[in-house]
Each structure stands twice: as structure tokens, then as C-alpha cells.
């Protein structure tokens, strides 16, 4: 039997209408996100790990052998410290691992981004970052006290630079321990305030 004259246009219109409905539905479909939980504990910071180094004071003769632009009174060798990060929720350890500076040689700041699922409600949160490697102080043996104002000036400047670097680095240990009410659908954010050299806490309320 032959289809009626109107059958083709009607079929065409039906297909077009379903096509449009599907287009709009596909364009606005609810998608589950990558959120790790109903509420989230997020750790995010950039901080410079402390440099663990062994320094030696060069003699004037050694210094004179170096090219002009490489004459530093103190010669240091070392690496950047590793830290133990531990995260506790209501006294339960949810993470405990070693973190270190970025880059292939770990000589870049420690960039950290972690997320943990949290159950909403009153929670006791603890985050600790403790240095693993013991720091080594300056070793001043071997060198000679330099003579002259320019040499003394350089030595002061170098000492100052090392102090600034150490002051900018993460302290031996930082921690945050607090009780808070985490609402459903909120992020509890812990970051490192480099000016105050401590972990600070923000909620998205």
C-alpha cells in the first residue's frame, strides 16, 4: 500500500521536532562533576621549601681563582627540604605523605593542590606540614676573614641574602588545627600565608 501524500512531510516534521528536542536536551544535560564529595577540604598553596645546604667560606686565594662574576665568599651545596604533610579529619588521618619542591630538581616552590571529601557538619580538621630533612647550619671553618671594606660589604650582603631566603622559606613546621561547621556543598580551603608563615583557613560561605 502506498503511503498517503501527507505522510512524508509529516514524518519529516516529526523527525525535525524530535531532532530539535534532542539537540536542546543534549545541549543542556545534567552532568555529574568531578567534585570529590558533598563538601570538600581543599589544600592549595605555593611555598618555598627550606634549602638544606652545607656552606664553606672560601679563602681569598680560592676566590681570586673564580671568574669575576662568580665570586661569592660562601660556597654552598645542598638541596631543598622535604616535608611530611599530614591531614586529619576528626582525628582520623586521611593523608600522610612526603611533599617537596616542584621542578625536575625539586628546586622550585612547593605547589600543592589536594582535595579530600568531607562529610558536612561539625568537623575537626588538622593539617600539618613538618620538615623531614634536618637543616644544617653554616660551617665557617676553613676560610679566612677577608680584609678590606669591599670584601666585608660583600660578605654582609651574602649573609643578608641567605637570611632573606630562609625567612621566605617554609618554617620547620606549620600546622592548623580547628573545629568548624562545614555546610553541605562548601569548600573548606587551607592555604599558606607566606607573610605570616602559617597555614590559614577559608570557607566558602
Amino acid at each position: 500500500m502506498r503511503p498517503a501524500v501527507w505522510a512524508r512531510p509529516a514524518a519529516g516534521l516529526t523527525v525535525a521536532a524530535f531532532g530539535l528536542i534532542a539537540l536542546r536536551a543534549g545541549s543542556l544535560a545534567p552532568l555529574r562533576t568531578s567534585a570529590v564529595g558533598e563538601s570538600v577540604l581543599r589544600l592549595s598553596w605555593s611555598a618555598r621549601p627550606e634549602r638544606i645546604e652545607q656552606c664553606r667560606r672560601l679563602t681569598d686565594a680560592e676566590l681570586a681563582e673564580r671568574p669575576q662574576h662568580m665570586r661569592l665568599r660562601w660556597e654552598c651545596e645542598g638541596r631543598f627540604a622535604r616535608y611530611l604533610l599530614s591531614v586529619r579529619v576528626d582525628g582520623r588521618i586521611v593523608a600522610s605523605d612526603t611533599v617537596r619542591g616542584g621542578g625536575l630538581r625539586n628546586d622550585r616552590p612547593m605547589h600543592l593542590f589536594r582535595e579530600y571529601a568531607l562529610r558536612p557538619g561539625e568537623r575537626r580538621l588538622g593539617v600539618t606540614l613538618r620538615r623531614i630533612d634536618a637543616s644544617v647550619r653554616l660551617d665557617s671553618t676553613g676560610g679566612q676573614v677577608a680584609a678590606g671594606a669591599a670584601a666585608a660589604d660583600r660578605e654582609t650582603r651574602e649573609a643578608q641574602e641567605r637570611r632573606v631566603r630562609r625567612a621566605e622559606a617554609l618554617p620547620d613546621s606549620v600546622s592548623l588545627d580547628t573545629v568548624l561547621v562545614v555546610p553541605t556543598g562548601r569548600v573548606a580551603l587551607v592555604s599558606y600565608a607566606s607573610g605570616e608563615r602559617k597555614l590559614v583557613f577559608r570557607t566558602g560561605q
Partner: protein, 487 residues
Amino acid sequence: MAAALLALLIVTGLYLLVFYRVGAPWQSVERLQADPYLGRWIRSLHRFASDAMVIAVLLHAWRLFAQSRSWGPRALAWTSGVVLLAVLFISGWTGYVMVWDTFGAELAIGGARLFDALPVLSEPVRRIFAGDQAIPSAFFFINLFLHVALPLGAAAGLWIHLSRLARPTLLPPRPLLSAVFGALTALSIFFPTPLAPEASLLTVERHVPADLFFVFWLPWANALPPWLAWTGAVGTFGLALCIPLFLHRPRSGSWTPSVVDERHCTGCNQCPQDCPWDAITMIPREGGHGVQSALVARVNPLRCVSCGVCAGSCAPMGVGPPGQTGRDQVARVRETYGVADVNELRPVAICCEHAAPDYLAPLRARGAEVRRVSCAGNLHTSAIELTLRAGAPGVMVFTCPPRDCRGREGPKWLHERLFNDREAELQSRVDRSRVATVVMSVGDPEGVLDAWTAFAAHLQAHDTQIPSAFDDPLGAYCEPVPLENSR
């Protein structure tokens, strides 16, 4: 359709761009959304058109894959098409991030997670979206730049995509174009896309309203470790690029490139005009075989896809893929009618090899003498004339839908040669009422068979007789000349 939608996206996108602010992305989109007369529906049209474009491009790619039109000289179009598809997806990604609603933030975070798995930056990009600092407007600026530059790059990339084609068809048939644009506009006006809430990085969203045409991959990318997600993405892209290698056929048999027999070429310059792949050029003739033209046709085998269309364009039958030239066709007609009983000749249905094969048996059942040809554009008008002169009451050529022709322009050139005197035209001495063409469309079997029945009835009604002048039809038309490849 894809190219027309790309144009629509560029036009609507330019309008939206005027209102976009990198300093306050979501607020600027909110202002647009609040304008019920233009802003809201242009925004929706931009979005729905981009979805329609994904569908159109995937259908386009699927059709060419299914028709095995990806390898050999077409590999450049295929690989550049795969790159265009990737560019389309990345453009969509940047577009949704621009809005900076909850979906945009989810995409940005998903992208940052994937990016951070690459050993590029020591600071994870993911930290930008931690919520402890304002997102740098440089991020929105770079994103905006990419969203504008990529589609414009795609428009330029189309040039490479189409560089091997003569007369590329950029627009679909006008009724289809109007219907699609009209439907998308109506959808945008009556069911505009809403604006999701502004992204808040310290809020946990469990679900966001997402565009699955662009981010169908996101749930997998979120669930898998980033390296596996990358492997999947790069693997799929690589596999898509390599499809021409998998589908490659040896260039022999029906895939042999066309050749010119310079002894027959009269330098008429017709085949370069008809070749849909610009594979033929006219060059000065070297040496020569006697009194010949100054120019002679030359096929570039690296561009020739062996469609056979040139064979149908050459009046002296001097060009074509071996076995598909006009001379080969004429020889086959002679062979057939050399053994046929002339009194029992039936009307002939010449079907394109690629046109729906399901029709062949019903056509035979309706009294047709069915013959095949590699493409309607390959059919030489002399083969039709000789068939009629041999005594067949009529010839009906069954072609693919013109837009679906593997030879790109077969049905068009056949029609021109049969009815509009395009070289190599069907001679005026042939009775046109005994020749017809019909599109063998898959969706209309009754229509196709009805056309045949009507044609057969018409032939019977007009009682077409074998012309008495051709009692020796085999010698009547052309001198048999063995086809040799001149080079």
C-alpha cells in the same frame, strides 16, 4: 552544512563578542541574557548552531568513511578534516569557559587537571581555580583569544581541506539550509538556553548543565587517571588521522588512476573542466602522433581518485581510468549486442555501481536489462547511443543522489551531457524521449520503481522500433581502436 554552520557561528559570535568583558565574564553574559529581543536568542542560536555543527561534521566524516573516501589523494582532506574536528571541540571548550558559569568552571577545572598531567609547568594550573585568589583576567583574555582565533583558523583551514577539490559545494541545498537555520532560530527564540549560576570556586557543584555534544568525554576524563585520559584522546586522534592508511587500496583494478591516450586527445580542454578533483591539466604536446593539437591533457595520478568522470567528458574517448574509458564502454556494448537476439531487446537500466543495489532485482523483475557503470559521470553518451542503435527501446540511467555521488559531480555532468549539450554530448540525432535519468534514492523505493514503470510504459506506447538503418549496429558507430596507454 558544516561550512554554512561555521559561517553562522562566526556571524553570531561577532555579535556576542561586542558585549563580552574579560573583566566580568559572567556578568557580561548575564546582561546579554537579560535582553529578550536579541541578546538572549543570538546567544542561544550560537550555542545550538555549534551543537548542530558537531552533528553535521560527524555525519560528514561518517559518510566519507562509510564510502571509503579517505585514502589516496583524499588523505589530505581527511587528515585536515580530523584537525578541523579537534579545533571545533577545543573552540567549544573555550566558548563554554568564557561564560564562567558553573559548567564553564567545571570545564576549566577538567582541562586544568588534564593539562597539569603534562610536564609543562611546575605550578599546577589547577591552583588558579582553588578559590584563594581572584582568577587573573589574563586567563579570560587568553581563553577569549583562542575562542576567536581557533574558528577563524578553522575557516582558513577549510582552504587546505578543500584544496584538492574543484568547485567544492559549501552550502547544502537551499531548502535544507533554510529549514535548519529556521529551526535553530525558532528553537533559540522559543526555548532559549538558560544561563547557569556564576561559577563559585568555593562551592561544590555535584551537577552542572552541560553540553554533551562537546563534553561527552568529560565524565571519562574525570573518572580516569589523567595519563589514561590523554592516552585515550591522543590515541583516538591518531587513529582518526591514520584511517586513510587502514582503508588504503592498491592502485590497480578499479582504483587505477586515469590516463590520457594522446593519439586520441584533440586538446579540447573539456576533461580538465569536468574533473572534480582538478587532476587534469593541459600541457604542450611533445613530439606528437601525426596531425594533433598543440596541447594535450595530462592526468596527475597523485590527485586522480579514479572516479572515471573524465571518461564521460571526452568526445574522442581518449581519457579515463583503464577499463572505464568511453572505448571500453562502447566495446562492452558491442560485446553484449553481438550475442543478443535483437528481437528480444529490452529497455536498459544503467545503474551506478554505488546506487542502492536493492533495486536491481525489482528492476529486472519489471523487465529491465540491468547494467552497471562505475559512476553516472563515467557513462559515455556514445555507449547510450550505441545501445539504442543496437535496438534497445530505451535507456534509463539510475544515479546516486547528486549530493551523495562518490564522483562528486557524476549526476550533474551526466545530465548536462544528455540534455544540455555539454561535451561529450548525446548527439542530437538520438531521440531524447528514449533516454531518461532517475535518482536512485534509498528512501523512496516506490518512486524509483514507478519512474521505471512509467518509462517502460512510455516506450511501449510510442512503439519505439529498432532503426532500420542500423542492421549492422556493431559497425555503425565508431571504429574499434585498441586502447593503449600512451605513457
